[in-house]
């Protein structure tokens, strides 16, 4: 039966104007996958506008796209070979529409990365390569298009191949093939080209058939995130899609993060033929439990063995599509399978320009189209897996305001919670501090910035860096942290004690707050009114009590281009 045929989703990516839409349009045309109406319509438009017939118009349906000759939004079209059916996704190559490119590419299982032979590797060729690696698309074929413009020259083709291969290797992307083609003239697309007789490999169409469909989600540990709970009748149905593994009636299951266990009583369905004894990855199902708990959307059902990770702190690789930058300290919403919870960035470990692989050291934000390695903390614990273990439960999106602005994959856990924030530690007491951060003036950006240092824990007896590039405390000083109601005492350059604010009395010595700002105190009376006055993040309070430059300075630095 026709519909048991395999369907593979492929995306075409690459720099603007390198011919993605033309490659696809021509592929569809040559495989006779288009209705006459579609071709006639493009012919009619070409005639109306006095332009030559454009294969790209078969995909670029919007008037704006045809008039400007660019792809704005992603499209998918279907075609088939003898081997299987394909959904081919056309993704825009203009950097302005990166969010649409990601929308298209995120659902693909394999990719064609298209490079213009004459222009060579451009910014989006690389950025798209990076995005593919972040989306976990491992099957890639690089297509060097417009070979007619360089007289089908093998040397120039090899130069592009070597350069791109070196770039992609760093991303752990290993293309299955590099194919020289001319989409406009149909060379090496569906039939071998005589003009490219030096090339002995596959045509594009043959290369597509060599891609394989990813399998294996069924064999992974069970992950069944609760989507909703229905009580339409006397059944209490737990509904959702099985993201991995399989589930049988009678199975003992664990519900995370609430950590309750029960057994599967039944698998429910509207029609009898769908009432199965076993359900598995990819199915949208409904089950009932033997025990009735209060269950809610977002909880994840697994077997007792191989449960998901439950944590509120993890390392991620993200791409940012928002107009506003992704910044530290701001509250965002994270959506991971059916879980939705408030989150914030604790640290930008690395921000990368995806078109050069250049790294911004000490970056404090990710701008539009940046990729970054960030540590995220969620307000409540959530269930997930590392992306490498399970892609469906190891990826998430970030919502800023009304919009999905970022996406990411979870690379791992943070070693231990304490390590992530620089702090003074005494037994169970932890005082987070920023007083050893370095401030500088970025002469390129013309902005005051702060270094982000590797998080360090100082325990009683440890030496502390009381002398920095942009700050200078004395060997003896006290750190009053009203936000934590704690005070740390440093004597002879060592942390000697952490006490509560109530236990502390004024001493005439260097006194700073947790950020390293001097505090205007000269007496015990001052100390009491300082505590009394305290309002976190209030400018009146800060201007009255704090002195930025008493122990701190701002150094000049070149900054990053």
């Amino acid at each position: 039966m026709e519909n048991t045929r395999e369907v593979l989703r492929i995306v075409a990516v690459g720099h603007v104007d390198h011919g993605k839409s033309t490659v696809i349009g021509r592929l569809l045309y040559d495989t006779k996958s288009l209705p006459e109406g579609a071709i006639d319509k493009v012919k009619r438009i070409a005639k109306e506008t006095g332009k030559p017939f454009e294969y790209a118009y078969l995909l670029d349906a919007f008037e704006e796209e045809q008039k400007q000759g660019i792809t704005i939004d992603t499209t998918s079209l279907q075609f088939h070979t003898d081997k299987r059916d394909y959904v081919i996704i056309d993704a825009p190559g203009h950097v302005e529409f990166l969010k649409n490119m990601i929308t298209g590419a995120a659902s693909a299982e394999a990719a064609l990365l298209i490079i213009d032979a004459k222009e060579g590797i451009q910014e989006q060729s690389k950025r798209h390569g990076y995005i593919l690696s972040l989306l976990g698309i491992k099957q890639v074929c690089v297509v060097v298009n417009k070979m007619d413009l360089i007289d089908y020259n093998q040397g120039k083709f090899n130069a592009i191949k070597n350069e791109m291969n070196a770039f992609l290797k760093n991303l752990n992307v290993h293309p299955m093939s590099y194919i020289p083609i001319s989409a406009f003239y149909g060379e090496n697309l569906t039939t071998k080209s005589e003009k490219l007789s030096w090339y002995k490999g596959e045509t594009v169409l043959e290369a597509l058939d060599l891609f394989t469909q990813e399998e294996g989600l069924e064999a992974k540990p069970l992950r069944f995130p609760i989507q909703d709970v229905y009580k339409f009748d006397n059944r209490r149905i737990i509904a959702g899609r099985i993201e991995a593994g399989s589930l049988n009636v009678g199975d003992e299951i664990l519900i995370s993060p609430s950590n309750r266990t029960t057994k599967v009583k039944s698998i429910e369905a509207f029609v009898e033929k769908d009432r199965l004894g076993t359900v598995s990855a990819g199915m949208s199902v409904g089950i009932t439990f033997e025990d009735e708990f209060f269950n809610k959307r977002g909880e994840v059902i697994s077997h007792k063995k191989n449960a998901p990770i439950v944590a509120d702190l993890f390392k991620t690789n993200i791409f940012w599509m928002g107009k506003n930058s992704f910044v530290k300290g701001k509250k965002y919403k994270i959506k991971l399978v059916t879980q939705e919870v408030e989150c914030e960035v604790i640290a930008f470990n690395k921000v990368i320009d995806a078109s050069t692989l250049g790294t911004y050291v000490n970056a404090l934000e990710a701008k539009t189209n940046d990729v970054a390695e960030v540590t995220i903390r969620t307000k409540e614990k959530i269930c997930f897996d590392k992306f490498a273990d399970n892609q469906n439960t190891g990826r998430f999106v970030i919502v800023d305001g009304y919009d999905v602005c970022g996406g990411g994959i979870i690379s791992g856990l943070v070693d231990s919670e304490g390590l992530i924030v620089t702090s003074f530690i005494k037994d169970e007491i932890k005082l987070p501090i920023d007083c050893f951060d370095e401030y500088y003036f970025d002469m390129n950006a013309l902005e005051i910035k702060k270094d982000l240092l590797k998080a360090t824990q100082y325990k009683i007896g440890d030496n502390v860096p009381f002398l920095g590039e942009s700050y200078e405390y004395t060997k003896d000083f006290d750190v009053i942290a009203l936000n934590a109601s704690l005070v740390a005492k440093i004597r002879a350059g060592k942390l000697i004690d952490v006490i509560t604010i109530g236990e502390y009395s004024y001493v005439d010595m260097t006194i700073i707050n947790e950020k390293g700002f001097g505090i205007n105190l000269t007496s015990e009376k001052d100390l009491l009114s300082y505590i009394d006055d305290y309002k976190e993040g209030n400018e009146v309070f800060a201007n009255k009590w704090l002195n930025f430059t008493e122990y701190r300075a701002i150094k000049f630095r070149d900054g990053i281009e």
Partner: protein, 266 residues
């Protein structure tokens, strides 16, 4: 799982997301094959129940057999059906003689907008498919419309990994497209597999059948001898004409659908 199982599971997931995440919800039912498949999928998603109303925007120009069939199925499936007509436009004599696109805008787009306003819907579920025509091929599964139902198609929100647009300002609404990724043959194969009841206008009589249903004046038949679903599927595998070739409004202008849909057409 085969290809149809995967499509079905995806559509059910989308229906359940819209029910959970959007406030007041309604599903458009045009009596045609696609929205009837959608009706069936909703029965499956909610275990035989219909937790939201179905909406038919009646232009009063529909093929008469469609109305008869609508009332019969609504009863059989026990669905809550809202039938709405832009009566003001009808009373003023609106019809395709005023211009096909003008007529579509008044009786369908404006009619739909009146329903959204009257019932304060936050979400509308529609059975459009991306392979039908160009502007639909650019759609998202959760597609935002502003308070006037307008579609900002050059600046659509990202949509990835089945995380949909569920945050939007009050007054806007979301068009949910659960069968966006199905193609015409998928629909027919599924109707056959699930044995879904369907209006007989799709089956050939006297060498002709409807391939797509709409208003009587603007919908043409195709030459066909296909009287069974198997024959229809076989016919579609070999056809070179588009599904909506018989829909006159699509042919009015190169960008007719884009223009209609920008203003809130289905």
């Amino acid at each position: 799982m085969d290809h149809l199982d995967a499509l079905e599971a995806e559509s059910i997931f989308i229906l359940r997301e819209s029910y959970k995440k959007l406030g007041k919800l309604g599903m458009l039912w045009s009596i045609g094959k696609d929205s009837t498949v959608l009706l069936w999928l909703s029965k499956k998603a909610f275990f035989g129940h219909s937790p939201f109303p179905f909406i038919h925007v009646d232009t009063k120009h529909k093929i008469p057999a469609m109305i008869e069939y609508r009332d019969k199925i609504a009863k059989e499936f026990n669905i809550d059906l809202i039938v709405h007509t832009n009566q003001e436009a009808i009373d003023a004599g609106m019809g395709p003689d005023h211009g096909r696109l003008v007529c579509c805008k008044a009786l369908k787009t404006d009619g739909l907008q009146q329903v959204v306003t009257k019932y304060e819907f936050d979400g509308l579920i529609l059975g459009i498919r991306s392979d039908e025509e160009g502007s639909r091929s650019k759609e998202r599964i959760f597609s935002e419309r502003n308070k006037d139902s307008e579609w900002d198609y050059t600046n659509q929100a990202p949509e990835l990994w089945d995380q949909f647009k569920t945050d939007f300002p009050k007054g806007n609404h979301i068009r949910v497209h659960p069968i966006l990724h199905w193609n015409e043959i998928d629909i027919w194969t599924y109707i056959q597999r699930e044995n879904i009841p369907l209006i007989d206008l799709y089956f050939a009589k006297n060498g002709e059948r409807y391939r797509s249903l709409g208003c009587a004046e603007c919908t043409g038949k195709i030459k066909s001898n296909a009287v069974t679903i198997d024959q229809i599927i076989e016919e579609l595998k070999h056809t070179t004409t588009g599904e909506r070739a018989g829909r006159a409004q699509d042919q009015e202008d190169s960008y007719a659908m884009q223009k209609l849909r920008k203003d809130g057409y289905m």
